[in-house]
C-alpha cells in the first residue's frame, strides 16, 4: 500500500473517530467538565458583602475543617450510603428473583414493586411525611395496634436519618429490580436447564450460577446506587430539611443550602469539590475491583 493512501486512511479514520466522539464531548464539556472546573475555580475565592472577590482557598479550607455541620453531613452521608446501597440492592435482587418465577398475579406484583420508582421523590416524601408523623402517622398507628408506643421519627435526632434512609430504600429498590429482572431474563434457558440438572438445590444454584451471571448487572447497579446515595436528596427538603439539629443533613443538601439559602458560592464550591473527590474515588475503586471480580462474558 502506498504511503499516501495509508496516511489519508489514517487521517480520515482519525477525523471520523473525532466526529463520532464530538456530540458526547460537547455535552460532557458543557454540562459536566465546565461546571466542575468552574466550581473548582470558584472554590478558590470568596465573595464578600460588597460583592468583591478575593483569593481565599486557605480560608475556605479552614472553614471546612472547622465546620461541624460539614463533618456531620459527611459522616451522615457515609452511613447513608453504607446502609441504603446494600439494603436496596439486596431487596432489589430478592424482588427480581421472586417476580422472575411464574405464578398468578406476577404482573401485578411487578407493577407494585416498580410503582415507587414512578413517583417523583418529592411526591413520595410528602406522603411519607404523613406516614412518619408521630400522632396521625400510619407507622405509629400500626405500631399502636400491637401496643407499641411509636417514636417521633422525623423529630428525633436518633431516628431522623434512618427514616430518610428507609424512604430511599423503598424508592430505589424497585428501580434496581428492573435491571436485575432484565438480566435474569437474559440468562439462556438451556443454561438454566443444565444448572438444574447439575445442582438441584436452589441456593446452591443461586450462589454458583445465578449470582455470577448477574455480576455485570450487580456492578452497574452498585455504581448507580452509590451515586444515588450522594445525589438524591430531594426528600430531605420535605421530610427534615436536614434537621433536627443537622441530624439528617447530607452533603448535597448542605451544598444547596450553602449556595442558595446562605448565598455563599465560594464555600458551596469547595463543598462541591469534596463531593466530587469522594465520588471520583468511589468510581475509581469500583472500576479497579470490577476488572478483577466481574465476568463480562
Amino acid at each position: 500500500m502506498p504511503n499516501t493512501l495509508l496516511n489519508s486512511m489514517r487521517s480520515s479514520n482519525f477525523a471520523f473517530a473525532w466526529m463520532l466522539l464530538l456530540p458526547a464531548m460537547v455535552l460532557l464539556s458543557c454540562f459536566t467538565y465546565f461546571p466542575a472546573f468552574s466550581a473548582f475555580y470558584n472554590s478558590l475565592f470568596a465573595t464578600d458583602f460588597s460583592g468583591a472577590r478575593h483569593f481565599a482557598l486557605q480560608d475556605n479550607l479552614l472553614d471546612l475543617y472547622y465546620d461541624p455541620v460539614f463533618w456531620r453531613a459527611l459522616t451522615n452521608n457515609l452511613w447513608y450510603a453504607l446502609i441504603t446501597v446494600p439494603a436496596s440492592m439486596i431487596l432489589a435482587l430478592v424482588m427480581a428473583l421472586w417476580v422472575n418465577e411464574k405464578f398468578l398475579g406476577r404482573s401485578l406484583l411487578r407493577l407494585s414493586f416498580f410503582l415507587p420508582t414512578m413517583l417523583p421523590m418529592v411526591a413520595a416524601a410528602n406522603i411519607w411525611m404523613f406516614f412518619y408523623s408521630p400522632n396521625i402517622g400510619l407507622f405509629n398507628r400500626v405500631l399502636a395496634v400491637f401496643g407499641i408506643q411509636g417514636a417521633n421519627w422525623l423529630g428525633d435526632p436518633s431516628t431522623a436519618l434512618w427514616a430518610t434512609m428507609l424512604l430511599a430504600i423503598w424508592k430505589e429498590a424497585g428501580f434496581f429490580m428492573i435491571f436485575y429482572l432484565a438480566a435474569l431474563q437474559a440468562i439462556p434457558s438451556e443454561l438454566n436447564d443444565a444448572a438444574r440438572l447439575e445442582a438441584p438445590g436452589y441456593f446452591y444454584r443461586l450462589r454458583r450460577f445465578i449470582l455470577p451471571l448477574l455480576g455485570p448487572t450487580t456492578l452497574f447497579v452498585f455504581i448507580n446506587a452509590v451515586i444515588h446515595a450522594f445525589k438524591v436528596v430531594d426528600h430531605l427538603f420535605i421530610l427534615t430539611k436536614g434537621g433536627p439539629n443537622n441530624a439528617s443533613t447530607l452533603l448535597l443538601y448542605y451544598i444547596y443550602e450553602t449556595a442558595f439559602a446562605f448565598f455563599d458560592a465560594g464555600y458551596a464550591a469547595i463543598l462541591t469539590m469534596v463531593l466530587l473527590l469522594l465520588l471520583g474515588l468511589c468510581s475509581a475503586i469500583q472500576f479497579a475491583l470490577s476488572h478483577k471480580r466481574v465476568h463480562y462474558r
Binding site: D48, F49, S50, G51, A52, V69, M129, F130, S133, P134, N135, I136, A144, G147, Q149, N152, L154, G155, D156, P157, I238, T240, K241, G243, P244, N245, N246, A247, E257, F260, A261, F262, F263, D264
Partner: protein
C-alpha cells in the same frame, strides 16, 4: 426555505394579532411565593388580571415560584441570566442581604405625589420594621402574618375550661394545656395540650418567646444578635419544659408541615401557627375553633413574618415605574382585604380593615381580627446580615435543646458565638 416561509408568515400573523397593544405595552415579570395551603395562585392571578384591566398598557407575567427560598433563587437567577424581573414578593427578612447586593431599589424613588406618600405611610408600622433601612423603604407588606394561638373550643369545654378565655401568660398556658391533655386507658396520650412547631421556622417561633420576655433577637441594624441573655435561656428552657417538665407537648421536634393536620384531627388542643393558615383551618375544622393572641411572660407579643413586595434593579426605568404602579395596586385596601379573607394573612393597613368586605367577613369570622390586634405588640422578625446562616445556627440551637442534645444555655451560647463570628465576617467584608 419552505420552513422559513412558514415561520415568517407565522410571526407576521402573531405580530398582527399583538399589534394594537404592542405599540405601548410594558411587559412586567413578577415572581411570588406561597407557603400556606389552599388554591391561592388563582387569587393572585385574579388580582393581576384586575390590574391589567385597569392598566391596559401593562402586561404582567406573574410566576408562582414555590416557597420563599425558591422564589428568591429563581428571581435572582432570572436576573443573572439577563431577563428582566421588575418586582417580586420575597421574604421580608431578606432585605439587608438583597440591599447589600444591590438587587433592590427603594420605593421612595417613585414616590412623587402627595397620594404616593400617603400610600407609603398607610401601612401598619410593625409591618414596616423589616422593610426599611436608612430612611428608605425597600419592602411593601403583602402576605404578612403573625403567630397566633389556635385552640379547640370543644376541647376546652370538655376539660371544663371557659372556651372564651384563652391563656394569657406562660404559667397559665402550661396549666391550661395540662388540663387539656387526654390519655387513653393504657396511659398513652391521645390529645396533647399544645404544639409549637419546631421545624421549618424554629427561629420564628423563638422570636415570639423572646418578645414575650421583653427582648428582641437582634439590633435594628441587623449587625448584632442577642441569643444567650438570661431571658433568652429562660425562654428556650420554658419551650423545652412544655415537653419535658409539664408534658403537655410531645418531646423532640414538631413538624411545621403536618401540624395543621394534627390540630384538625384533634391530636392537640392548642397550636401556635401563622395566621396565614386561618382560612384553611376555619374551613376544615370539624369543631369550634378559637383564635387568640399569644400569651406573654414579661409582656405579650409575636414577631411579624411573611413576604414583602420588592422593586428589583432590573428592567428599564419605565418598566420599574409600571412595577411601582402594580405594587400600589396590589397593596391597596380592597386587594389587601380580599387577600386577607382568602388566606388569613393580616390586612396590611387600617384602611383594609375599614373596607366593607373585611368588615363583613370579620362579623362572620371574628377570629380574623386577632392578628390585627396583635400587631400593636408585634416586633420585627429575626433579620441580620448573612441572615440564612444566622437563622440556621439559632434553629440548630433550638432543635438541639428540644431534642435533649444540649441544655438551653449551652446551645444558645454556641449559637451566640457562631452568629457573632458570622456577623464579624460580614462586617469585615
Amino acid at each position: 426555505m419552505k420552513l422559513n416561509k412558514y415561520a415568517s408568515t407565522l410571526s407576521l400573523l402573531a405580530g398582527l394579532a399583538a399589534a394594537p397593544a404592542l405599540a405601548e405595552t410594558t411587559e412586567l415579570t413578577m415572581y411570588y411565593p406561597i407557603s400556606v395551603g389552599g388554591p391561592l395562585t388563582q387569587v393572585v392571578d385574579g388580582m393581576v388580571d384586575e390590574f391589567e384591566a385597569a392598566n391596559p398598557d401593562v402586561n404582567v407575567t406573574a410566576i408562582y415560584a414555590g416557597n420563599y427560598d425558591d422564589t428568591r433563587v429563581k428571581a435572582l437567577a432570572a436576573i443573572n441570566a439577563g431577563e428582566a424581573v421588575q418586582t417580586s414578593v420575597m421574604f421580608s427578612i431578606d432585605m439587608l442581604e438583597l440591599q447589600s447586593r444591590g438587587v433592590i431599589r427603594p420605593f421612595n424613588d417613585f414616590v412623587k405625589t402627595e397620594e404616593d406618600q400617603q400610600w407609603l405611610d398607610s401601612f401598619y408600622p410593625a409591618l414596616m420594621e423589616n422593610g426599611q433601612l436608612d430612611g428608605q423603604t425597600y419592602g411593601i407588606p403583602f402576605q404578612r402574618s403573625t403567630i397566633v394561638m389556635f385552640y379547640n373550643k370543644d376541647a376546652f369545654r370538655e376539660a371544663g375550661l371557659d372556651p372564651e378565655k384563652a391563656p394569657t401568660t406562660w404559667a397559665e398556658m402550661a396549666d391550661v394545656a395540662s388540663k387539656l391533655v387526654k390519655k387513653n386507658g393504657s396511659g398513652e396520650t391521645e390529645r396533647w395540650g399544645l404544639m409549637v412547631p419546631s421545624t421549618g421556622y424554629p427561629y420564628w417561633m423563638f422570636g415570639a418567646f423572646a418578645k414575650q420576655q421583653g427582648e428582641t433577637l437582634m439590633n435594628q441594624a441587623g449587625t448584632e444578635v442577642n441569643f444567650n441573655s438570661p431571658k433568652m435561656v429562660e425562654a428556650l428552657q420554658y419551650w423545652r419544659d412544655l415537653g419535658d417538665k409539664y408534658q403537655v407537648m410531645p418531646t423532640g421536634t414538631i413538624e411545621w408541615g403536618t401540624l395543621r393536620q394534627e390540630f384538625l384531627e384533634q391530636n392537640t388542643a392548642m397550636m401556635w401557627h401563622t395566621t396565614g393558615n386561618l382560612t384553611a383551618v376555619m374551613q376544615q375544622a370539624s369543631f369550634d375553633v378559637g383564635v387568640a393572641q399569644l400569651p406573654g411572660n414579661v409582656e405579650p407579643g409575636s414577631p411579624t413574618g411573611g413576604g414583602n413586595f420588592y422593586l428589583m434593579n432590573s428592567g428599564s426605568e419605565a418598566e420599574q415605574e409600571a412595577a411601582f404602579r402594580l405594587v400600589k395596586f396590589m397593596t391597596a385596601p380592597e386587594r389587601s382585604a380580599q387577600w386577607s379573607i382568602a388566606t388569613g394573612y393580616v390586612g396590611i393597613s387600617e384602611a383594609a380593615y375599614a373596607t366593607a368586605d373585611l368588615q363583613d367577613y370579620a362579623k362572620q369570622v371574628p377570629q380574623a381580627l386577632v392578628a390585627r390586634d396583635q400587631l400593636s405588640v408585634a416586633t420585627a422578625e429575626l433579620a441580620t446580615y448573612d441572615a440564612g446562616r444566622v437563622r440556621r445556627v439559632l434553629d440548630d440551637a433550638i432543635q438541639s435543646t428540644l431534642t435533649g442534645q444540649a441544655s438551653a444555655e449551652e446551645a444558645l451560647n454556641t449559637a451566640q458565638s457562631q452568629a457573632e463570628r458570622l456577623l464579624r465576617r460580614a462586617n469585615r467584608g
